[in-house]
Amino acid sequence: MAGSSPAPRRSHQWQSPQRSAVLGDILNDDRNSESRHRILLEAAKKEHDRVREEAERVYRDHLQKEEHAKLLAERKKEEERIRNEELLAAERFRLLALKEKKVEIPEIPPTPTAPEPVKKTAPASTTPGQTPTANGTNGTPASPPTLPPLKSGNIFGLPKPQATSQSTSLPSLTGLLAKTPAPTAPASQAPSTVAGGSSLFGANAQANGVKPPSVQDVATETTLDRHSVIHKNLKTLRKSLADQAKSNKALKDRMGDMRREIRKSVGQLTGGAPGVNRTQQSKITGLLREALANNVQSQLVDPSDYVIEPRPATGQNAGPLPSLFLYLLNIFSKATISQFINEAAARPETADPVGVCVAATFSEPDFHWRGAPLIDILLAKFRIVCPVLFGYRGSEKTEQGRARLGWWKDNGRWVPEQQHMDRMTGLGAGFAAISLRKFAMSKKQNPYPPRNYWSAMARIVNTPPADMSSTQCVVLKSMIQNYEIKFIEAYGNAALAALRLCLVEFPARAVDKTPAVHSLEVLGQLLRKDAGLVLG
């Protein structure tokens, strides 16, 4: 540490008075005394300590600076990573959305009534600029674009006008369900609205959820009627099978056993590791194949009676199918819905394996008709047992309202509230289990893709506050609980915005703060507590 030029400095030092004092000290008489020696040693030691301390301080400072720099670098790296992941997620989301859109195309039917709306779907979804919540927007990493619509409460569309349309559709349903004397009104009503509107059920919702309201409900109405018609046709089919069995012994011998086997297999499905339900799945598939082979010679019937939209006569199984096969699909659908009502009502998580089984069964190409799944059979039943998923509303305090909400009667009396709400819980979970299945890794076609979940959710949260019912809240809650992750996987940021709407804003808007409304908020708290999902 000595200077580069020791000599001059030393001379300088010699001149300093202090130094000369030091020199004086050194040259002092007692310079060789022990005490002197000690003092000097002491001083040296002090100096040494001082230097060492200083060095250590500097070293610590240096370390801290280094640490800080490292943290900064790491933070940058993390931020970079998050940015990349967001980009990736956005990209993937866009890709998924695109894939789903592609799925739409084959459904375009040539017949004049139904096809038009479907065609509409495609263009609507492919033009992303139109709507703020469109897939493209969701895809971008920054969430702000999705948030403003959320705040204004119209992520799913414009609530008010839709409400209007909904209430229009209600009377017709009433006519169907409760057999109240209002058939003329709906009949005259329906055509006029149809003329006004142009699109079909779900068209807008599927793409992006934002839709011109009037169009949407008209669409809903047409399709809903069709669901009920299918439901009736299925009853006729069941009767026809019973009649056939009277004259066809082979059929009679087999039919009951097949029905019971399917019911039992659906009941045996459990959660757990993948493959845990392989036996049950192959049993169900096997029975359906057996029915398709039709060795027992059940009559052939035209499946058109059991699908929502007419289908062009192309693809596999384009002709009539064995009635036993359709009957068993009906039994299978019935068994799954009954499982939701009886089991998932008490423990909603049990719906999931059943949903997997539904997806696996209806996506089986051999069971398709004219290139598409026959899942409308199941949906027709869903529409009857849980109408709020399909946009129906009603007051729980009125006879007609209850009928519209799918509140069951038992021996002419409404079943107790607890039982009704239980059933709705199971059905909500069941609907999510069916509509939120991921087919990204599968070659098969998803028989009921997530856009249906989105639109069902939209139909509930777009209810004007005064028309909200506990039934809707219960269904909404159970279709979210345990499915928040699958929903977010499917829709990314848009799902978060939707969840906030469902669990924060929708309950906050409620006029009547029933326990059911409150339980939506509690679900929000649970997600925060258990999953760290803060919806604000």
């Binding site: 209002a182 009951g256 045996q268 089991e343 008490a346 007051s395 209850r402 059911a516």
Partner: protein
């Protein structure tokens, strides 16, 4: 909703259509502008009698939990569990149990009507959460499974309560060094007694003693003596709550001494059975055919989870083998398993990894798996030396594993010889129930019958074959 209710009219009153329409237009004008519906229809309000038709039901109640004055965190916990309204026992017993000065309570209510939640709510309301490790409420149950189950209920209802610690005082669960360090303790009497004796459980500030399945616990032939000793160790001012679905007369007298000056809620013998459970019996040609018939039952109706009660471990094992071969996922739980193994078996069933539970009487009481929709008495429950007489209480507790909280459930009891038939007949007679007969000869017909029974679970008069007469 409220608006619509105001518009609506009760059916009896002739409505003046003009005002009704006017109200409607006021409340939702845009509806009528935009739609071309002729809206001269008004909705008919649900009849009061219909709303109250289940007034006699143990689940009927008018108030909400909020009205019962429960703190918000507890109310949120209930909502998270999908409890929206108090059941009758909760609505009636809670104000009595929560009133001050504290008074003892003896409460009887049918299986699956919310007794556990009722006393758990009381415990949570009485505990001072600022002293989280000081034991303040003690809940006693007859088995480790039941104790663990109650512990879970306390934790779930209390999940939004900060600083709530709940421990289960069951064998092998409390650390010997630390001792009991929780405000709520759920345990079996033997273990609790040991812990207090070893000074690992400070009972000095206990405010509440709750005994679940009290008739079983206080029965002198069973754990009665232990319960008396536990009580003698506790502060004399402690509030005592006794709960059960059944209180035979002799136990009742004893209970009144155990919990003096208690408020009481009792049921008549005929009110004990849960209406939502369709009770049937299967007429089996002989004992060996019971296995095959059992497997066939699962195709007759939609079943969530099911519990099969058998008499011996051997038949439990054999049934398990057969049912697994038929594609079922089965758990078997009986006295051959111990401690943690028993927990694991039951957890499989609770979590839904297995959906069939085969068990002996160890699990007849209290166990609540809400998705159980069928209970099978593979053997009719008997008691006394050499299984002399039918055990009516056990029958009731067994079938009470289904039909939880107003859900529908079925119970099917197997009879195959004169003794089993007569025993079941006696039980049916005791409670005044009509059992519906099923036969294994024509499964199409049996399926139809079962479906009809379930559909009209309330119109039992149509299915009158009383077991005593036929």
């Amino acid at each position: 909703m409220a608006d619509q209710a105001n518009q609506a009219n009760t059916p009896g009153v002739a409505p003046d259509s003009t005002p009704a329409a006017a109200t409607a237009t006021e409340t939702a004008p845009d509806v009528h502008q935009d739609s071309n519906l002729v809206d001269n229809e008004y909705e008919v309000e649900v009849k009061l009698s219909d709303l109250q038709n289940d007034q006699e039901s143990p689940l009927y109640s008018v108030s909400s939990f909020e009205q019962l004055g429960l703190p918000k965190p507890i109310n949120d916990g209930l909502l998270a569990m999908n409890f929206k309204k108090p059941s009758k026992i909760q609505e009636r017993a809670l104000p009595l149990m929560l009133s001050n000065p504290p008074r003892n309570m003896i409460a009887q209510s049918q299986s699956g009507t919310g007794k556990t939640a009722a006393f758990v709510l009381t415990a949570l309301s009485r505990v001072d959460l600022s002293k989280p490790t000081q034991p303040q409420a003690l809940i006693l149950a007859p088995s480790r499974e039941l104790a663990r189950q109650i512990q879970m209920v306390v934790q779930t209802i209390g999940q939004f309560c900060e600083n709530l610690i709940v421990e289960a005082a069951i064998p092998g669960n409390i650390s010997r060094t630390a001792g009991v360090k929780s405000s709520v303790v759920v345990g079996t009497p033997g273990t609790v007694m040991d812990l207090v004796r070893r000074r690992q459980f400070d009972v000095s500030q206990l405010k509440l003693l709750i005994i679940d399945e009290a008739d079983n616990m206080l029965d002198q032939q069973g754990m009665g003596e232990q319960c008396v000793r536990v009580k003698s160790m506790l502060p004399p001012t402690i509030q005592i709550l006794l709960f059960s679905a059944t209180f035979p007369e002799k136990v009742m007298q004893y209970a009144e001494r155990y919990a003096p000056n208690a408020n009481q809620m009792k049921l008549k013998q005929q009110e004990l059975t849960v209406k939502g459970i369709s009770q049937m019996y299967m007429d089996c040609p002989d004992e060996r055919e019971k296995y095959d018939i059992l497997c066939k039952l699962y195709g007759l109706m939609t079943i969530g989870s099911s519990v099969i009660f058998v008499k011996t471990r051997e038949s439990a094992t054999e049934i398990q083998r057969r049912m697994e071969a038929d594609g079922h996922k089965v758990s078997a739980l009986h006295g051959a398993y111990e401690g943690a193994n028993r927990d694991a078996v039951l957890d499989d069933f609770r979590s839904g990894r297995s959906k069939v539970l085969i068990t002996t009487n160890v699990l007849a009481r209290g166990i609540d798996v809400s998705s159980v929709s069928m209970v099978i008495n593979y053997d009719i429950p008997m008691k006394g030396a050499g299984d002399r007489e039918p055990d009516a209480e056990t029958y009731l507790h067994r079938i009470g594993r289904t039909g939880r909280f107003g859900r529908v459930g079925v119970s099917i009891s197997f009879v195959y010889d004169r003794k089993s038939f007569e025993s079941l007949a006696k039980i049916a007679d005791y409670y005044g129930i009509d059992l519906i007969q099923l036969s294994p000869d024509d499964w199409d017909a049996t399926e139809k019958k079962v479906q009809d029974v379930i559909k009209s679970s309330r119109a039992k008069a149509d299915y009158a074959p009383n077991v005593t007469s036929g």
